[in-house]
Every structure is written in structure tokens, then in C-alpha cells.
Symmetry: C3
Subunit: 558 residues, 3 copies
């Protein structure tokens, strides 16, 4: 009998040990999960950067890239200093707590770094959406300002409303059998609708790029093409990759039973929704235009993924196919609407993020579990509480729309005065001359593809490597190579210089003096540069020409 | 004594709690593992896209990118609707079950989303391999068809054969002491041999690109170069990254004892095999050609990684070095063989995936544990059952080859009729004119690098930013910059226009009318465009010239 | 009473089962953690490749890409054969064990593959740093040599010193109350200071690129621009992504209590330090130069991340902001110093990695917990052992510097003779002609952007797709498209040819014979190519011209 008490202690010890183990593993597994998903979401900055870089002209490439780089940098500082505190800081006062947190500024007395890191990458994403809408004309000061404000104040407080258990949107209304809450798993609303709405506002206030819309009403809107489809595609691929982590990672926990499956379901729904959006758009576009567009298909795919954010954790895959189809159509509609309204949104940030985001918030209440469709089907099926179900479903849908409206209103409440102020002080948009000539060199001193860097090279592929006597062993391709030596862009550089001196003699000075409108329309560089030496050049002797062309060379580069 | 019964209950409770905990953690850890590996494998689509984009000419870049984007989209839909059901759906009937599953279509009554997501990214990879082999000439309809069929039917059924416990290849033969099974950890056979074999078939049926092989027997095969080595390298890096997850992730489970180490071993073997393949190829290539080729080294490296798929989970690293060396040689041989057979496979998809895949299936039975080499060594060492071991090892090798043959046969059984049918209805290959002029603009309406987007810019770097009075503080680079201002491709755009007007006056109309063969050979654009205004341009006065050049401008762009 | 013994056995069994479970989960979780972090760190090779590719001229792009590809390949072979054994192999002899391990060569009798894989990607990173410093002029043999030596010998032994519990740096000194150790969580010292120091040495011995520094003392150093800002940015983004895994993953364990939080803290500190470094540099640069530089900001950000390596696991975020600010300043200073010393380090590998690394080692002993600042604050606060704390803190700082010195000395001890020997046998640097004309074609036979690949294309966007009758349905952009059809670089190719024949007639032969210095300065290609047919071309009739231009065509390509 003396040993019996031991059992109690032993079992208790075992229980404690197990609880400790469970707690340790849970904490570490969750941290690992959050960190690795956050890492991939962090890479979405790279995705946005290249989607946008591919969609702008070469003269604004450095500009858009640095914006996306600084997004990460500004957002971490802002979210560390204020953002986290406003979003998830403790809020003992329940009334204030409905709207914002107010502690843990600068992460004082803070330990939950995995959650912080995860929330930071979301904040950075929210801010980065806007840069696409104002691309190619946005002042750097404007960019710094809106990026700071969004990632530090606007977005964090929205997440408090929607994702903090004490937030007013999250609490929702409870009236009788009706109970609503804010249903937005991965941020269709607080991330994308917020970013997308601000994009529309920003694009509208800042105005279209020069040359985007012609004044003549008869003419159609002009297409300003991006300079690199591959870069846009690279960005699109990285964003798709990132979205899977964005939506799957929003589980934010991977230790409770079934959570792993939800993560995977979220990812499957995300790609499924994106695929249906992409194919829906692509097929319709092909039927109307006869072209299989890549760039717009990427946008449609992203819209589908944005729309899936809200309900990807609990929708059935079949339901997500409808989310995708709807997203494809909405993207198409809003994109055309923006053009019609003469709002120049180079990346379709509004259509993709606001359209997808709003559709996400709506669709989860319509075709998600317990949504309108289920409720009606249940009522048709003769459920005893069919009416209540329908009422509840519509109430939830209504609440989603109230929240959507609140998100838009809150965003505009902050950004409208800011943009208006910046416009007043002339820091909203770059001067016309800068816009025409591109922001890269004026603002950043860095041309994306400096001509210098394309030069030299072997003229004759075969002659040069005289040491490689092995060539005769394997003659495959040898003869051809000598006929078509490998040449590269380096030669284009030489073309520039030579045709510079040539062009003048033939084109004559007058042709170069196109009026400003023509220049703007043709979107070619003006040739004033060549006027100085050009005309003189035409009737000179060979020796003189030689000298002139040197002078001209000086002129050109000086 | 009254307390004693409690112990039993307590211990039972503890046991249950522990079992539950174990089960929960296992499920979640596996889900997390599968999802994160699947994410990285998903990114391989981006890798393939850029490997291929870099290897095609600029005029077909958008085309190859959209193919790879749609791979992901089509595969998720096909695999969701049918693929999964055929591969891993329940199959109560044991005979049918040898060959395919037949339930859980559209994921009805389905929960194992992590496994589905993981299997989907494999299916997408399998389909995407082919696009490299038919690049630059494949009809969009052809692409949509084969991509759907492979990811929905061909590949899923192969995985049922090889990876479902009831599949006939997996069951293998049992006769006396001999017991064979299909030994293919990560899909050397079902993924890569399948994709690679179809690539050969497709490349053969569709025929070589115009200009790839000259008719004159004396001349060597012509080299059609890809337009961007950096893009190809980007794709290669991403694929290497993806392959590590592809092979490591194939463990598909990370909770049983030792599984984590196997995952890491698989990754180490993969990179080791890739490295030996790359260096073997590179050194031999250098000895023969005197050049350190990057593009082919990437391919060789990938071949090594493909070959390591089959046995990377159980081979010793030293054995994997031989897998790599063999892969390097096989890639070299098959790549040359395809050229000799006048099969134009721009990405060497056949050599890389079929060659590497077949060598993987073989090598695991030869130099893997219990393989031929081990058996012979054991017999030489005097093992009592040495003969049996050898018989077993060769039987296993034989079974691997039977499976390889079955994979190829099955693939061809589907794809040969499909390709033949598409050829008959003229939907296999684009018309000649489209091929010569590139698929991007005709098919997609999107030039990869639209000239418009390269324009404007500051002529004089120094003058423009007059506001920056700080320049004098740090004069580093100032003087130079004024002599060589940063200029960019934008100027090349202007070159185009000016030399357009110039070119005509000098070149004359006749030069522009090269016959078709010449044009094809030189692979330069035809100049018909400039004929209209060119000749008239030559003898006009300055004013007339001005006008003409405007007319010409219209002509050019119209 | 008969049942009582059962409890003991049952509890024991339960205990064993739990211990087993804990052990299994721990092992697998750690393996998973190490593998996934290692995967992302592996991708840093891609990041380095593109950061460097963007920073070199187009003629050396293939060269720099293959270097980074081979880094991964050479490092895995070297680290497998020797590196691991020297770094972490068993070392029964305690004296030898202070300096190196000496077992498990070729991973014989080895099981800890997760740790091996993780350490390998670090070794590869260490070697890859140098390639930036010697870019555009390094002999392939030199590269192969230093890469092998660093990843196989130099770096592994350093990690033994610093990270093996028996290593002399790790053991540190113990004297009275003073106890020092080597405090470097993720390799500020052994990875970055090592790689960065060797970069300086290599850049110094190999000498500046031709044209980088002018001989005339009055002129400022010349800027040699990289050919692609987007590629550099891509590399930067991938490196930032990788650094988060690099620093977070250095925990190398994620099962003990609190480790998950440390991983997240390390990531937060890394991005925070990088952000402060980037913004500090950017603002100062803007104040001095009036430009918001992207490329240098990326470098500054990376310097901040390098500096955070040493202490990111235990610093408070506020402290890491100072690490970042310091890193931004140090990068600025060292980068200018290298230029002043006429050391040509195209990627600023020295400033980023050695500067950041040294500052990391220092800062962790200054502003980390128990660092100099804390000790002084504590002494000011009147701590009873304030003096001891200060002594301990300074001793630790001293030891960090001793270790830094040891790292540099060890690195130079190996690399100085190697570089000197290679210089003697002429394998350090490519011949002048090769350097001027670029390494890509001579060394690799692969031009990064072969002109061939840019050709053909539709002249008239509208006419070609005559089948697409749908155009009239959606006329948006139609008219414009006909005015500005999508054109692409393909036309630039034609420009080349035409202006080739034109250029000669106008420019005359003399202009083409620039002397060598001029050519070098202007960094334009020489035009000798066009001399052969050029002069003859000028005074011929139209028919003759036609013939000549064909001849010339032959000449050009032959």
C-alpha cells in the first residue's frame, strides 16, 4: 500500500509533462508555420514589384521597383512603431477597444513575434497595392506618405475592427436568432478592398498619364503598353505562389485538430478560384478580341485569388469555382468601367483588388456554408426553420456589405484629405516634363537599362577563340555559327551612334521639330538633341564629316 | 483501496489524450509539410516558364509564358474533376483497381486536401514538360488539348499504377523468393519519363521549327538561339529550388521515426546528383568545344535531378554521384541523338526528362540498396544466398524496365491518336506565316517587349535635375556622368524611326525584296514595310522630305 | 492488490511511449524546419546571381550566371567530400579539435542529413560572395579554384572554430568572472566577414576593370553601369527573402520551449535592421546627391541584414534599429573608401559583407543584451557588480574582435598565396582583349541576348489577324492599335542591318578607326567590321549597292 500514492504523483507528473510537451510543440509548430508562410508572403513584394515593373514603360522601371522595395522597409518600421499596437495591442477600455488597440507601441513588453511577423507582411501587402494604380506619375513624397499612413494607421485599425475579437465588425450584431460577424478569412476586405479602393481614389485624384486618354471624343482610349511581358509574368507567378501562402497561412495556427486540412483546403480553393477566373476571362476575351491575352489573364487569375480570400477556409471547392467565375467577370467589368470613366489605373489595381475583395466578401455570404444559397435550398427542401435561415443568411450578407462600406469609408476618410493636401502643395504628381521623360533618371539617377552597359563584344564568333582547336572534333553547329555568329544587343548600341549622325542628314531639321502634341502622341523621344550638328552635317566633305561627327558625339553625350 | 480504480481510468485517459495528441500533431505536421513542399513545387511552373521563355525567340515569349500559366489552371480543374479520382479514388473492385480508381470525382465526399494539393502540383509538372518540346510552333488548341489530357487522364492513371498500393506496377510480381515492385520515390518514371516521352512524340509529329534543319545534307543543323540567357538561368535556379522540394516532399509524411532524415537525404542526393551531372557535362563539353556553356549545364543539372527522383530516398550519397555522372552523359547522348534524328526539341525536354527518368528507374535497381551492384558485391563477398540476391536484383531491374515500357506505351496510346487527329484537322501547328512572324502578336496580341514602351528619356543627365544643387558636394562620377550620361534603350526606339526613313534612301527597294529563303535564313524581318515610301523619299527636297517622313510615319505604324 | 503492479508497468509504458513520441516529433520537426529554411537559403544563389547579373554589363552576363550556378554544384561536392568533416566531424583529440574536425569524410557513417544540408547552403553562400567582387574580369580557373577552396576548407574550418562546441573561438576564455565566447548567431563573422574580406583581397589583387579608374588624377572615378536594374532588384528581393530564412533558420532547432519565438524574433530583427539601413542610406544619399538610388539602397539593406546576423536572436527590436542605422553608414563609408583606394568591387561585396559582418560582430557585444551599453547603463544605475559587468562586456567585445581578426587572417592565409600563384601563372584574370569584348562569347559561347533571337514579327498588327472579325465588337483600343501596332525589339534587329549599310556611307571609314583609348573610353563597339564593305559602298549605283549590301551581309555574319 505504501506505493499507491506514487501513482497519483506519477500520473500527475506524466500529465504535466504531456501538457508541457503539447504546449511546447504547439507553440513551436505555430511559430514555424507562421514564419514560413510569412516568408512566402514577404516575397509577394517581389511579385508586385515585377508585375508592376513589367506593366510600366522602361523609363519608369527603377521608380516602380524602388517603391516596392521601400514598401517592405516602411511597413516594418510603421507596423513596429504603431501599426501592431493599433491593430492587436491590448485595449482594456471596451468602447475604445471596439475601434482600436492602444498598447505595445514599439513592441514594448511584447513576445508574440511570430504573429507580429505574419501581420507585418499583410500590412506591407496592403500598402503595396496602391503603387500600381499611380505608377509612372506619382511623386516620391506622395508615395512615402500614403505608404506610411496605410501600413501604419489605416490598415491596422481595419484589422482591429475585423480580426480582433473585440473589434466592432468582428463582434457584429446579435438580435434574436440573428447573429452576424465579419466573415473574411484572409482579408478580401481589410487587405484588398482597402488597398483597391484607395487605388481607385489615388488614380482618380492623380489623373491619367499623359497620352493615356485622347481629348478627341471620337478616338478610343489609348493603350500605353508595359515594357516587359516576361517581368509581368514573373510577378504574376510569384504572386500566385504568394497567394497560396497568404490564404493558407491565414489559418495562423496549425495544431488544433483539422487545422492542417483547412490550410490545404484554403490553398486548393485559392488556386481553383484563380484558375476559373483566369479561364473565364480568357475565353470571353478570346471570343470578343480573338486574342489569348496573357497580361489580362494574370490579372483575372489574381482577382479570383483575391475573391477566394474571404471564404477559402470553409467553402467547398465546387462553390469556389463560382467565386472564380464571378471574379473573372467582375474583373472584366470593372476594368472596362475604369477605362470608360477615364481613370487610368495601369495595373488594374482597383478592378483586381477592390473588385475581387468586394466579391469575396459577398460570395462568402452567398455561396459559402450557411450562405444565402444554402439557406434558400434548405428552405426549398422544407427545413422547419427555413425562414430563419434565410433571414440569418441575408442579415450576414448585409453585415458583410456594411463592413465593406465601412472599410471604404474609413480608407477614404484618411486618404482623401491626404491626397488633396499633397495635390495642393504640388507633391502629388511629378511635373509634366519629368513624366514625359521618365522618372528613373530624374528621380533616381538610374536608368533601368543603361545603354553603356550594352557594348563591345566579339564581331566574329569563330575567329576570336583561336585557342579552341577542339572545334573540329564536334562540328555540329560550327559552320552555322560562323555564318551567323552570336551577336547581341551590344551592336544595337553602335547602331545608335552611327544612325545618330546619319539620321540628321536625311531627316532634316524640320522633321525633328514635331510639335509637342505629336511628340506626346507618338511617344517617341524628341530629337532636339540632333539638331545642333545635324543640318551642318549634310554637305560636308569626308574629312569635315569626320570632325563633325566627333563634335556631334561630344554634343550627344555632354 | 477506494482510489485504485481511478488509476486505471486516469491512465486510460492519459493514454487516450496522448493518442489524440499524437494523431493531431501527426495530421497537422503532415499537412503543413505537404502544403509547404507543394507550394514550392507549384513555383516550378514559374521555373519552367522562364527556362522556356529564355530558350525561345523574343517573338514567341508571351506564347510560352501563357502556356505555363495555363498549365497550373488547367491542371487544377482537370485534376479536381477527374484526375484525383482516377489516381487515388477508392476502387472496391480489385481488378479495375489494378488500373484506375473510380470515385471521388470533383472531390465529392473528400477530406484529404493536403494530399490532393500535393498530387495536383505533380500533375501540373507532368503536363508542363511537353510545352518545351513544341515551343515556337504549337497551336494553342493543341496545347490546351494535350495539357488537359495529360493532367487529367494519362498522368493520374500512371500514378495509380505506380503509387497506389493496389496499382499493378506497385504490386509487382511475387514468385518464390523474388518480389518486385515499382521503385520510384519521386516520379522519375510516372512524371518525367511520361512527360519526356510525350515530348519526343510531340516534337517528332509537329516537326522542326522553320530554319532549324537545313535541307542541304552537307550543312550542319542550324542553331536557333533563345532570346535571353538570364531568363533561362532564372528558370533553372527556380527549378533546382523546386526539385529539392519535389524530391524531399515526396516523402509525403514527416511524423514517423526517421522520416525527417529521409527528407533531408533526398534533398542532399538531389543536389549532389545534379551537381555531378552538371560538372560531368560541363567538363566534357569544354574538352570538345572549348566553351563553358551555361544553358546546357543547366539542362544537365536538371537531368541529374530528374534521375535522382527514383532513388533519392534510399541511395547513399556516393551512389548518387554515379547517378549524376550517368545523367550527365545520357543527357549529352540523347540531346545529340535528337539533333541527329532531326527532331527539334528546343528545350531538350526529351533528353532531360525521358533520359533522366529512364536512367533514374534503372539506376535505383542497379546502384541502389539491394540493387545489382550490391547483389554482385555480396555474391563476390561469398554471401550464402548470393545467387538469389542477384536474381532478385535483376528481376527488380527487369520490372523497372517493364514499368518504363508500360509508361511509354500508355502515354503513346493516348497521345499518338490525339496528335494525329490534331494534325489532320490542322490544329497541331501554327501556319507558316505565323511561325515566321512569331506567335506573340498573332495569337496573343502582346509583344513581349513592345517598342512603344521603350521611349522618351532625358537626353542630358546633368542638365535635367537642375534642382539638385548638392551635386557639387560629392563630385564622384559627376564629370564622367556628364560625358556619358545615363542613356537607355529609349534611344534605340528613336534610332528605329530615324533609320527607318534613312534606310530606304540608301538601301533602295530591291535590297528589301529578298526572296523568302534568304529571309528565312537570315531570320531578319522583311522590309516590305519600308518600300512604300522609301523610294519616293530619295530625291525629294527638304520640305517634301518632311512631309514624306510624316506619311511614312503613318505608314509604318498603320 | 494483484493489479497494482500493472500501474507501474502501464505508467512506465506510457512514459516510454511519450518519450518516444517527443523524440520522434522533435527529430522530424527539426528536420522539416532545417530543410525548409535550407531550401530558401539555397535560393539565395539565385538572388546573388541576379544581383550580380544586373550589375555587370551585358557582355559578361552569362559568365556571372554560370559562376553562381556552379557555386551550388562545387560547394555540395566539396562540402560532402571534405567540408563537413572539417567543420563538424568528430574530433576525439581535444587539441586538434580546437581547430578542426577530422572524420566523416564523404559523409561516411553519417546520418544527420538535415544538419548537413543546412550547413551546405551556408557554405555555398560563403563562397558565392566573392564572385561579385571579381566580376567581369575573373578567369574561370580562378573562380573554380577559390570557390572550391573556400567552400571546402576555409569556411568549414572557420565554422568549426566558431560554431562547434569544441572550437577555440566558441570556447573562448574563462578568467575569473570573465567568460567570453564567440557570439555570432547566423554568421556575420564566419560567413560574411570571411566572404567579404576575401572579396577585398580578390578585388585588390585582380585589379580594377579596364576603364573603371582613369589615370588622370583630376578626373573622378568612372562609373561602369550594370546592364539591368530590374535583374539587380530581383536579386535583391530574393536575397532579402533568403536572409530572413538565413537568420531565422540559424536557430537550427524548433522544438525546445520558446525557440519558435526566437526564430520569429530573428526574422523581425533582420527585416528591421535591413529597413533602417536602407532608409538611413537612402536619405543621406538623397541629401547629398538629390537622387533616390535603388541599387545602392538594396546594398544598404543587405548590409543591415548581414549586420543583424550576429545578434538577431537576442537583441531587442529597438537595438536592431541601431544595428541597421550603423550598417547603412558603414556601407556608405566602406563603399566610398574602396573607390578612393581604387579597388574595383562591382557589387560592393566588401562593403556589404565585410562591413556588415564586422559591424554585426561588434554591435552584438555593444548593444546586445549584456553588451557594453547595458553594462554601462547598469553601472550608472548603481548595480553592485557594475564594474564587473563592464569588464565582462568589454572582454566580450574584445574577444569578438580577436575572432574577427582571426577570421580575416585565416582567410588571407589561404587566399593570398592562391591568388598570387594564379596571378603568376596568368590564370587570375582574363586577357585584356577578352575583357574588352566580354567574357560571354569567348568563354561560354553564349551571348546573353543573341541578336538572332530578336527578329521577325508582324509589321502590321491589324492586317495580320484577318480572321479575328470580333474586333468590331469591342473597339476599345482598336484604332490606336492600328496607329501604333505593337512592335518589338525585333525591329531593332532590322535597324542594325540597315543602318549598318547606311552608316558607312555617311560616317566614312576614318571615323570608324578610333584609336584604342577612345574606344575603351567610349565603351562602344569598334566598327572595324563595317570597314570592309563600307567605303566601297558610298559611290555605287543602285544595282551595285544592292549587290554590295548582300556582300556586306555575308561579311557581317561570317
Amino acid at each position: 500500500m505504501a506505493t499507491t500514492p506514487n501513482y497519483t504523483a506519477q500520473i500527475l507528473l506524466l500529465q504535466q509533462e504531456m501538457d508541457q510537451m503539447k504546449s511546447d510543440f504547439s507553440e513551436n509548430d505555430n511559430a514555424f508555420f507562421l514564419c514560413s508562410m510569412a516568408l512566402i508572403i514577404f516575397l509577394m513584394q517581389c511579385g508586385f514589384a515585377f508585375l508592376e515593373a513589367g506593366a510600366v514603360r522602361s523609363k519608369n522601371t527603377t521608380n516602380i521597383l524602388i517603391k516596392n522595395l521601400l514598401d517592405s522597409c516602411i511597413a516594418i518600421i510603421g507596423y513596429w512603431a504603431l501599426g501592431w499596437a493599433l491593430a492587436f495591442g491590448d485595449c482594456p477600455n471596451d468602447v475604445i477597444g471596439l475601434f482600436m488597440g492602444y498598447s505595445q507601441f514599439f513592441l514594448a513588453n511584447f513576445v508574440n513575434y511570430p504573429k507580429f511577423f505574419f501581420q507585418y507582411v499583410f500590412a506591407a501587402t496592403s500598402a503595396t497595392i496602391v503603387s500600381g494604380a499611380v505608377a509612372e506619375r506619382c511623386e516620391f513624397a506622395n508615395y512615402i506618405t500614403y505608404c506610411s499612413v496605410i501600413s501604419t494607421i489605416v490598415y491596422p485599425i481595419l484589422t482591429h475592427w475585423g480580426w480582433h475579437p473585440k473589434g466592432w465588425m468582428s463582434l457584429g450584431i446579435s438580435a434574436g436568432f440573428i447573429k452576424t460577424t465579419y466573415d473574411d478569412f484572409a482579408g478580401s476586405g481589410v487587405v484588398h478592398l482597402c488597398g483597391g479602393s484607395i487605388s481607385l481614389l489615388a488614380a482618380w485624384i492623380i489623373g491619367p498619364r499623359i497620352g493615356k486618354f485622347v481629348e478627341d471624343e471620337d478616338e478610343e482610349s489609348d493603350e500605353i503598353l508595359g515594357h516587359s511581358v516576361p517581368f509581368a509574368a514573373l510577378g504574376g507567378f510569384i504572386l500566385m505562389f504568394g497567394f497560396l501562402a497568404f490564404n493558407g497561412g491565414s489559418m495562423a495556427d496549425i495544431v488544433k485538430p483539422g487545422e492542417g486540412h483547412i490550410v490545404a483546403l484554403a490553398m486548393v480553393n485559392t488556386i481553383l478560384s484563380g484558375a476559373f477566373a483566369a479561364l473565364t476571362f480568357l475565353v470571353i476575351h478570346f471570343l470578343y478580341h480573338g486574342k489569348w491575352t496573357l497580361l489580362l489573364t494574370i490579372n483575372a487569375c489574381l482577382t479570383g485569388m483575391v475573391a477566394s480570400c474571404a471564404g477559402c477556409n470553409k467553402m467547398e471547392p465546387w462553390a469556389c469555382t463560382w467565386v472564380g467565375i464571378g471574379a473573372g467577370l467582375i474583373y472584366m467589368g470593372l476594368s472596362k468601367w475604369a477605362l470608360k470613366m477615364k481613370i487610368d489605373d495601369p495595373l488594374d489595381a482597383f478592378a483586381v483588388h477592390a473588385g475581387g475583395g468586394f466579391w469575396g466578401l459577398t460570395s462568402v455570404a452567398v455561396i459559402g456554408h450557411n450562405g444565402v444559397v444554402y439557406a434558400i435550398a434548405s428552405a426549398i427542401g422544407g427545413a422547419s426553420d427555413g425562414g430563419n435561415q434565410i433571414a440569418q443568411a441575408f442579415a450576414q450578407l448585409g453585415w458583410q456589405w456594411v463592413c465593406a462600406l465601412a472599410i471604404i469609408t474609413w480608407s477614404y476618410l484618411w486618404m482623401l484629405p491626404i491626397f488633396a493636401f499633397l495635390k495642393k502643395i504640388g507633391k502629388l504628381r511629378v511635373p509634366e516634363e519629368v513624366e514625359i521623360n521618365g522618372l528613373d533618371i530624374f528621380k533616381h539617377g538610374e536608368s533601368a537599362y543603361p545603354l553603356h552597359a550594352y557594348g563591345h563584344g566579339w564581331h566574329d564568333f569563330e575567329k576570336a577563340p583561336s585557342s579552341s582547336t577542339h572545334h573540329k572534333h564536334l562540328p555540329v553547329g560550327k559552320k552555322r555559327q560562323s555564318v551567323y555568329p552570336e551577336m547581341s544587343l551590344e551592336h544595337l548600341a553602335s547602331v545608335y551612334e552611327r544612325s545618330g549622325s546619319v539620321g540628321q542628314s536625311d531627316s532634316g531639321p524640320k522633321r525633328l521639330f514635331m510639335n509637342h502634341n505629336e511628340r506626346r502622341k507618338s511617344r517617341m523621344i524628341d530629337f532636339d538633341l540632333y539638331n545642333e550638328s545635324g543640318p551642318k552635317n549634310t554637305r560636308k566633305s569626308s574629312e569635315e564629316k569626320e570632325k563633325t561627327s566627333e563634335t556631334e558625339h561630344e554634343t550627344m553625350w555632354m
